[in-house]
């Protein structure tokens, strides 16, 4: 502890506004420091004299109140003028005004919804990325190209997944639904915009279903389709030439389920596949 430290706190010490620890340290120091003792005594003696000298007993003139109130009242009138105007508003005018405001807000909201850009699928690349889009025609062609005669036996889902992974470079998960209604019958690699896409063909209670998997970083989803939100996930649904397409994203990949089936039925199968792709 230095004399400077003590000097800086002498006034607080005299005013008894130091913590007990700090006061004790100063008392210890003062016991052995003549200079600090002298400074303390001088400060103690002059403090009260100077305080009395600085204090003034000057009185404001009575006219000052009037001046202050005149100025404040002019501010007051300006400040509360608009509140006075509110008193002109009858319940009828307030109700009419509120109604108009509500109609305008709702109209604005609807206009905003109509003009809003379609919501991108979460996790999918944005439309601004200018990627080639998964072509519906090539998907339909791949679906129709499946020759059910050649794929009569059930295939091993793990082997098919491994082969497709090797051929396309995609991380193709084995989709063994362990469901008698859905059987893996065939697989193929299709080129869409010269990009390899994995296709698995299933037999779904006699209905042929194709599951397409494409790299979402290289191939975009078509966004001008009907959007369906389910359990916080986003699906795109499209129907064309008797086929139903359901698009969704899973990690970095885009998936499409294609079948000649009503959307509601195909969506049930989609949910089953999604649960398999993303357990829990």
């Amino acid at each position: 502890m230095t004399c400077t430290w003590v000097h800086e706190r002498l006034l607080l010490y005299l005013a008894e506004e130091l913590s007990p620890t700090e006061s004790a340290r100063i008392v210890d120091h003062l016991a052995g420091c003549r200079d600090c003792n002298a400074a303390l005594n001088e400060l103690a003696a002059s403090r009260d004299i100077l305080r009395e000298m600085i204090r003034t007993t000057a009185q404001p003139p009575a006219s000052l109140d009037t001046r202050i109130l005149q100025r404040v009242q002019s501010l007051h009138r300006r400040r509360f003028l608009w509140l006075d105007r509110l008193s002109l508003w009858t319940p009828k005018t307030v109700f009419a005004f509120s109604g108009c405001a509500l109609v305008l807000v709702m109209a604005g909201y609807q206009w905003g919804r109509w003009n809003a850009a379609p919501t991108p699928v979460p996790g999918a690349p944005t439309a601004a990325s200018a990627l080639p889009t998964l072509d519906l025609a090539s998907l339909a062609e791949a679906h129709h190209a499946w020759d059910r005669r050649t794929g009569s036996a059930d295939l091993d889902a793990t082997l098919v997944a491994a082969r497709l992974t090797q051929q396309t470079g995609l991380d193709v998960p084995p989709l063994d639904l362990r469901d008698r209604t859905v059987r893996l019958k065939d697989s193929a690699v299709v080129q869409v915009n010269h990009i390899p896409v994995a296709v698995r063909h299933y037999d779904w209670n006699g209905t042929p279903v194709s599951l397409v998997q494409a790299n979402g970083i290289r191939l975009d989803l078509p966004y001008s389709l009907r959007e369906l939100k389910h359990h916080g996930r986003c699906f795109l649904i499209h129907q064309k030439d008797g086929l139903t397409y359901i698009f969704w994203c899973e990690g970095p990949d885009n998936f499409v389920l294609v079948a000649q089936a009503p959307p509601s039925q195909l969506f049930a199968l989609t949910c089953k596949l999604c649960a398999k792709l993303r357990p829990g």
């Binding site: 002498l10 607080l12 506004e17 204090r55 000052l64 109140d65």
Partner: protein, 189 residues
């Protein structure tokens, strides 16, 4: 009205009750005037500054939190107003290089003429000594002396930490002691 606390009055005044503001003015007019007097250094400016302080108090009442004590809040507004007015005056004076005529405090006409003259001279000397301090230091010292605040209250009023305000007052006292209490007048223990 006199039974209401300052905090309640301030809250009502903020809501537009002029009579509450008038009551606050009646309660604080002398205290604010004296602070302004010491800061301005003359009666004429002190009146203008007091008026400006109350105008600012009125304008800022909407921001006052009635759950906290009113006096420190008021002292803070007054301090800020006085400091900014003092700074503005310093700038103005330095531009036109003309000093203000200092008026001495109104003293009683009663008593010994020699005592009155000496008292006037002393007051002028004190004011001149105060004027040599910067507006911020002067305001701190005047608040401490005039309002008899603890350093903690002073810190609250000025929005500064305790060690800062005490150091400011201590430096100012040392400065004034050197000017007003020369060696022959210095108080010896």
């Amino acid at each position: 009205m006199p039974s209401l606390s300052d905090e309640v009055l301030a809250h009502r005044a903020a809501a537009g009750k002029m009579e509450c503001f008038e009551e606050l003015l009646a309660r604080y007019r002398v205290r604010v005037y004296r602070l302004c007097y010491r800061m301005a250094g003359n009666a004429e400016d002190a009146e203008d500054w007091t008026q400006e302080c109350f105008v600012r108090i009125y304008q800022q009442l909407g921001r006052y939190n009635a759950e906290r004590p009113f006096t420190p809040w008021l002292l803070r507004v007054v301090s800020n107003t006085c400091i900014s007015l003092a700074k503005a005056r310093t700038r103005r004076e330095s531009r036109i290089q003309v000093g203000l005529t200092t008026e001495t405090e109104q003293v009683s006409s009663e008593g010994d003429p020699l005592c009155r003259t000496l008292a006037n001279a002393q007051r002028q000397e004190i004011q001149e000594a105060l004027d040599t301090l910067s507006p911020l230091v002067r305001q701190t010292l005047v608040l401490w002396a005039q309002e008899d605040l603890t350093f903690r209250e002073l810190g609250d009023a000025l929005g500064a930490p305790l060690p800062t305000v005490s150091a400011r007052v201590q430096r100012a006292l040392q400065h004034l002691r050197a000017r007003l209490l020369p060696d022959n007048k210095k108080v010896r223990p």
